[in-house]
Symmetry: C2
DNA sequence: ATATACTTGACTAAAATAGTAGGTTTTTGC
DNA sequence: GCAAAAACCTACTATTTTAGTCAAGTATAT
């Protein structure tokens, strides 16, 4: 288990989906604008999320991404695991031995620790997050702005980023 | 709170101190050999640990580092905090507002999450870790080897690393 | 005095993170 | 059928963080 900004990006994007994809697929382009995450980076992340069936995709015009399951069935740990690199358990994988047969020193400890952090994060679902009142309020105001943005596509991007609430940045400073 | 290899290195080194510095200071050079962490990287880490008074240093011949407090008073969270980069709370630092006065979206959630992970790690002390029986056993066999190493300093380093139990590597694959 | 060992700063190398660019499918609507 | 919208895919680049190296100090026990 590794906690870095990558996982936060992923959780933020999934949160955005959870809020905005209730009535149909949402494009990465929209998420990119709302959360100020680069489109291609989102593509990379969603490729991994799709492989774990955390999201489903619809191709073609009007397409986009939706949650792969109910938001109450998707937990934070799953999302972070999906986008984080391989767990890199090069040695002593659960066998309790390593380094020439000697007992694995702090192995059990860190396994415990890791397991407990994982368990903690796996008890928090997307729906837990979304159900916070303030989140929905701000999400609504973002949807309002998206309409304006779409109505006036020619507008410069600085304006969009300057006024749009930035889920990612909010998330970034806490974990 | 950020969980990366850096924090694991630091915790591993502190564990080594906790085990080996009971009767006097331990040099970074010894830790470097036992845990296969580069001396200079240890120097960087211990500089930060010293600033937080997690370790004390003794200069001159026979000097080295010791724990700054009882191992039962040093927790994992403190160690990770000490070596990890600034918490980077560029915005909405506890004020609950950001982005032009709008309510901070997922701020409270992640603050909670971070706080709970932190709390979890702060409940695990070095002495908790050291008290695991296997750890002490293997530590003793490491001390035996150190004697041999010191008795025959001219020996090549590959031999040392090849036979020495590598605390760091054991730790690395679990979190 | 002098060897030991901490201390500091500047520098380099490798890895992970983040972003760019350019394409190819697939699907919809005209 | 065709054009546009969107996912999908591959390769490349830039930035940041980690990790390690080097060299010149400073303090201190013997």
């Amino acid at each position: 288990m590794r906690l870095t900004t990558k996982g936060r990006y992923a959780v933020t994007a999934m949160l955005d989906l959870s809020i905005n994809a209730k009535k149909g697929p949402v494009t990465l382009s929209d998420i990119s604008k709302r959360q100020a995450i680069s489109l291609s980076y989102l593509e990379q992340l969603f490729s991994k999320l799709r492989k774990r069936d955390l999201v489903t995709s619809v191709r073609g015009p009007g397409g986009g991404y939706m949650l792969g399951r109910k938001d109450s069935d998707i937990d934070v740990a799953e999302i972070i695991d999906a986008v984080s690199e391989s767990l890199d358990s090069t040695q002593c994988k659960g066998k309790g031995d390593c380094h020439g047969g000697e007992i694995c020193l702090t192995h059990h400890l860190w396994e415990d620790l890791s397991a407990q952090i994982h368990k903690f994060l796996s008890n928090i679902t997307l729906s837990d997050l979304v159900s916070k009142r303030e989140i929905e309020q701000i999400a609504r105001s973002q949807q309002e702005r998206m309409k304006q943005i779409k109505a006036n596509e020619a507008q410069d991007q600085d304006g969009i980023q300057g006024t749009s609430v930035n889920l990612e940045r909010i998330v970034a400073n806490s974990l």
